[in-house]
Symmetry: C2
Subunit: 373 residues, 2 copies
């Protein structure tokens, strides 16, 4: 039996805070764990299955939630991005990405044989993506080839910055370039609506932000893209080529569905999550740990820069692992082993009590080593 050591720890790993299963999802996992059990009453394609009610989920509940015309389940956000890119790809064409894009956005483009043009970020300390730079980059890139897609990461996974996505959507529309919003850290955490944004595609991650067991993602789009991106096989008329027929053919989709009512409710409490994040940021700064990225911050994912912890690591017995060890002893998980000077964390879903516990942990660790030094 492989045991998960940190399962009862307070978790601040940005990858994990939005993916903790609800009790309903845990039950669904056990109920539907056997291979291909979701296909008990298969009628030819995953999204068409009515028992369990996948059809209703994919065709009405999910599109309504994210404000899209058409939704599909994928094996993850990166797979959803690749599906779009591979559908839109042309020889020597470009995708325009923000410089804060996740590595998998770059790799999805690479796999789809698209060239990449980057919208730069501002420098320290905010590392922001400015909407108007999309216009400049699209303009410039058009000189070298067709821009088949633009992508914005909302928020990015490093700084938790939320660019002005409405403005970016407007710019892309002016240039007639479809826009994909990578909402892997947004959908399931905060209110998100493709129609209100005015973009063409939205991508979400079930295991990152929708309390689901991975790998699972969501792809939402405007109706006009359906015939291209969800094109059917020539030989097998009911199968969608880019989805290879069926995608999340396992318990993962049932966990997504089981957690969904909870997820719909929790995004309504987003203001409270932002409040917690800002409180946390403020208290960390008072310990001499600087928050980079947008300030005041608008998301639970935060990046910190800490000279004080870095200085301690130079002298501590455990060297650069001292912080990891101290936090582990206090049953706090989520800051990568070896990091002290730059690290990110997420306050998503933590209670105020847990939040204060994590802050007091940082405080006591700093005090302990200052005393020793």
């Amino acid at each position: 039996m492989f045991e998960r050591k940190v399962k009862n720890f307070i978790n601040v790993d940005p990858l994990q805070t939005g993916g903790k299963l609800t009790e309903e999802a845990k039950k669904a996992l056990v109920e539907w764990g056997d291979g291909y059990s979701v296909c008990d009453y298969c009628s030819g394609r995953l999204e068409e299955i009515k028992n369990p009610p996948i059809y209703d989920f994919v065709h009405s509940e999910l599109p309504e939630f994210i404000g899209c015309d058409v939704a599909r389940i994928t094996t993850g956000a990166r797979e959803a991005k690749y599906i779009v890119m591979n559908s839109l790809a042309k020889k020597d064409a470009y995708v325009v990405l923000d410089a804060n894009a996740h590595y998998s956005s770059y790799i999805a483009a690479e796999r789809a044989k698209l060239k990449i043009a980057e919208v730069p970020k501002t420098g320290e300390p905010e590392y922001k993506i400015q909407a108007e730079r999309y216009a400049e980059v699209i303009e410039e890139t058009k000189k070298y080839g067709e821009v088949v897609l633009a992508l914005v990461t909302y928020p990015d996974g490093n700084y938790g910055n939320l660019p002005d996505v409405l403005k970016i959507a407007k710019i892309c529309e002016e240039y007639d370039v479809p826009l994909l919003v990578n909402g892997a850290y947004a959908v399931g955490r905060m209110p998100m609506n493709l129609k209100k944004i005015g973009a063409d595609f939205i991508v979400a991650s079930g295991h990152k932000s929708m309390a689901a067991c991975g790998p699972i993602g969501v792809l939402g789009m405007k109706e006009e893209w359906e015939s291209l991106v969800l094109r059917k096989s020539e030989k097998f008329k009911n199968k969608e080529v880019e989805l290879l027929g069926c995608t999340a053919r396992g318990a993962s989709i049932l966990t997504l569905m089981a957690s969904f009512p909870h997820v719909v409710e929790r995004v309504k409490r987003w203001d409270e999550e932002v409040k917690k994040a800002r409180y946390f940021s403020e208290k960390m700064e008072s310990l001499g740990i600087k928050q980079l990225g947008e300030k005041p911050h608008n998301h639970d994912l935060m990046f910190f820069y800490s000279e004080v912890l870095y200085e301690i690591s130079k002298k501590a017995k455990d060297g650069r692992y001292f912080l990891y060890k101290e936090l582990t002893q206090r049953k706090i998980h989520g800051i990568k082993p070896g990091l002290t000077r730059f690290f990110k964390l997420s306050t998503y879903g933590l209670s105020w009590e847990e939040l204060k516990y994590v802050l007091s942990a940082f405080e006591s660790i700093i005090e302990k080593y200052k005393k020793d030094g």
Copy 2:
């Protein structure tokens, strides 16, 4: 809570008999269900994670089991096939498939923009793929374009036929065409070894035949293909492009690992499974239900042709759903609703007692309606 109605039924669904979770896998599901929990100690890539011991599994246990140099975890067999096809694809090039290939093999080729040439099957009743036809089809196809890959389905998912894969491998080698063995219904059920076969790629399905929670698959290959198929990203040097960085980043991989010792043991009992299948086939024939495909049969997946059940369906109150309803009443799951004349089933993992129970169910159903008629 979405309930699975058939979870305690005797299961003869070919999709499902090899994917039932072991007790160890069920525990792993619950332990690792939270999103991205397998990444607690991520060191940059899924296959490099040492805690839980994914590294050892992917780099030694798994390749040893399937006899390949290099193995990777994918989100399924179809995704593994696409990874290979997309890597090998060239403009106007061909893949040679057997006519019994799974629909997802065709669609993977379509997605990779490969043309398809088909190795025909023999007619009724065996529908066999003859090894020497690979030579003819490759020879003929070469006139029209490059053949970048051949694929053989071993066994196919319709008849459960096992073509002479050693001979096919030899032919492909002579023509210098790499061969992919789709072992979605083989690996995890019966002994399979890529090196002994002499092919280039092997593809397996965790949720179909390795007692894992889906979607999860395995891709094994000869070392010579590693640099092409697992090529690294230009910008992110440790990420593999075709895998989009990481694939089965969820509990599914832990279920595959948890069931693995059991799976290694059960393939050693393959002779007994074949014995059960042949017994079942023989008894069905004595009820007037004909087994199509290879005979004597060499696999648990069998296709049946039944005039007697079809005739009953014409008059039965429930029409073509009578068989499904009768089997459901007897707590037997796995023959699609509405089928009576042609259907497939699998005897994999059934005890002799269960086998005899299923046979007696068919017998009593036929008797009941004959009496009524």
